[in-house]
């Protein structure tokens, strides 16, 4: 009785099938059903002519006419679509450039060993955790308000003319606020990179008489370029869904001068009720983003291979 039966001992090995897949399958299904399949549906929708205001017309297959509409037809009468593309690209470029440059500089600053440095890091990290609608409302009301805000007060004290950024330079304003909110994320990643630079390298560079400038831009910077690349990649994704900030600060205005593609999608869907056209813009946007991200990803990979 006490002896184990021979077949029983063999059983586990004989039964050993690849059961690990059951740990991944639920996650795969959930992710596919909520992200990738809907995206395929978006692509199909972008080929349809479907106006919700005219249910009698229904949805009809339209080939690539929606794309043609934005690229050529609409552009002939008014360059609305291309303007919005330009604004989106500008806002993205401004924000990500500012985030990278200032993020690097601030990370350098926060990389020092001074008392209570963690408090300073925590303070700088703060804006990252604020929801974008709150960011917009708070800046608009307490700082940029032309009569009651801090900006107006300081500008008056200094004798500077008070300008209304919200209507004068809406794209720059949104880029600025986005930078305020996302630079901490860049700092977080870049700081992680700076701290992983081995102290041996830095010490030997110092012994060789390397000055601050060379140490920073010729030694540290090349070693953390990948961190910046990754931060830009994620920043691009987060910026692409930035809708709340624009809605709260400028509401896309004045006119459509601070519309981005994400804002335009909602405009097409809710104001014009054009399902097909809204889907078309999504597809265009995702395509552009994937091209950009792919480009960045390749760069990062090639650098990793170079250093390995």
């Amino acid at each position: 009785m006490l002896l184990p039966e021979a077949p029983k001992e063999l059983k586990p090995r004989a039964r050993r099938r690849y059961t690990d897949k059951y740990f991944v399958i639920p996650a795969i299904i959930w992710v596919a059903v909520t992200t990738q399949i809907p995206f395929l549906v978006t692509i199909v929708l972008s080929l349809l002519r479907w106006n919700l205001v005219r249910p009698d017309q229904g949805a009809t297959f339209n080939w690539f006419n929606n794309y043609a509409y934005f690229f050529w037809d609409n552009a002939r009468s008014s360059p609305e679509f291309w303007n919005i593309v330009l604004q989106t690209l500008l806002m993205t470029a401004y924000s990500l450039a500012a985030c990278s440059v200032f993020g690097f500089l601030v990370a350098l600053m926060l990389d020092h060993r001074i008392p209570l440095i963690n408090v300073a890091r925590t303070l700088v990290l703060g804006p990252f955790f604020v929801m974008s609608t709150t960011t917009g409302v708070i800046w608009k009301v307490t700082i940029l308000n032309m009569t009651f805000g801090w900006y107006a007060r300081i500008a008056t004290a200094l004798g500077l003319p008070i300008r209304e950024f919200i209507s004068e330079s809406p794209v720059m304003l949104n880029a600025f606020l986005f930078t305020w909110q996302w630079m901490p994320f860049f700092v977080l990643i870049i700081l992680g990179g700076l701290q992983s630079v081995s102290s041996e390298v830095l010490e030997s560079a110092e012994l060789d008489g390397c000055n601050w400038f060379n140490l920073t831009f010729r030694i540290k910077l090349p070693m953390i370029v990948n961190h910046i690349g990754v931060a830009i990649m994620l920043g691009l994704i987060f910026l692409s869904k930035e809708y709340g900030l624009i809605l709260v600060t400028t509401q896309g205005g004045p006119g459509k001068s601070s519309y981005t593609l994400a804002y335009y999608i909602r405009d097409q869907l809710f104001s014009s009720k054009q399902v097909g056209r809204a889907a078309t813009i999504s597809v265009i946007m995702v395509a552009v983003m994937l091209v950009l991200i792919n480009f960045l990803y390749r760069k990062i990979q090639s650098r990793i291979e170079l250093y390995d």
Binding site: I114, G136, I265
Partner: protein
Amino acid sequence: MTGRSEALLRARRNIRNRRYVKKTVLTVAIFTFALLYFFPILYMFLTGLKTEIQAVHPRIFFKPSLETYDKILTDASMYSYLLNSVFQIVVSTLVSLLLGVPAAFAIQFGKFKKPTTNSSLRKWFITTILLPPVAIVVPMYLFFNSMGLMNKVWGLTILYVGFHIPIVIWMIHSFMTDIPRSLIEASEIDGCSRVQQILYVVLPLIRMGVFSSGMLVAVFVWNEFLLSFTLTTNSTATLAVFMSRFREQQGQFTAQLSASATICTLPALALGWSTQKALVKGLTMGAVKG
């Protein structure tokens, strides 16, 4: 002899002094910057403690009162948004972790028929992070509208889980690469089942990683706006949507606005700050290795 050593001492003291001055200047500069950078949030906290009349003028020093908080917390309009937000972060975070942790485990340590499956699965999940919610807004709006999911709080949760599983996997996986493979093999020989391995071997080792990725998901969900704004009605919307309602009120009710904004901000700040260190580790490792 004494003259020389005195000169040497003086020179040394000079160097030390200079270093000391440099450090002090640096400290002051860093803290000035940090405080200025944080100032909008700080001022928001302060304004919430003002009365409406005090809030009109931008001042830092004033007599604080809880009058405004009293007003907004007794007003029921914010409650349903707050409850919805809490529901979203709790359920989405838990479900994302529940599905993400075993998946990350299987990707790192699991055995599949094809040995390349592990890395291709990892790549698949990471590329899903790159798909922005904008890509699915249109069909999801139609779907939610026709199924009446707009009026259900959990409708949005399904999407949140889907969008955050890849992030969980990405972060947890980077923590799991620290666990030596031999440990898993040893526990396998000792007769641990996969579930036991996850529960008793892996989880205790990457507690911080699990915690911090959960917190990151919670912060993202708490702050998410695009989907919540598009796919909800008044009764199911989250706090981010509630905050966007303030956009029309220029300069009025600044104190109320600030107090509400503080309530929206504090939980995310607290969660984020408490996991800062693990967050840095998870993000940078996931980022550079991913």
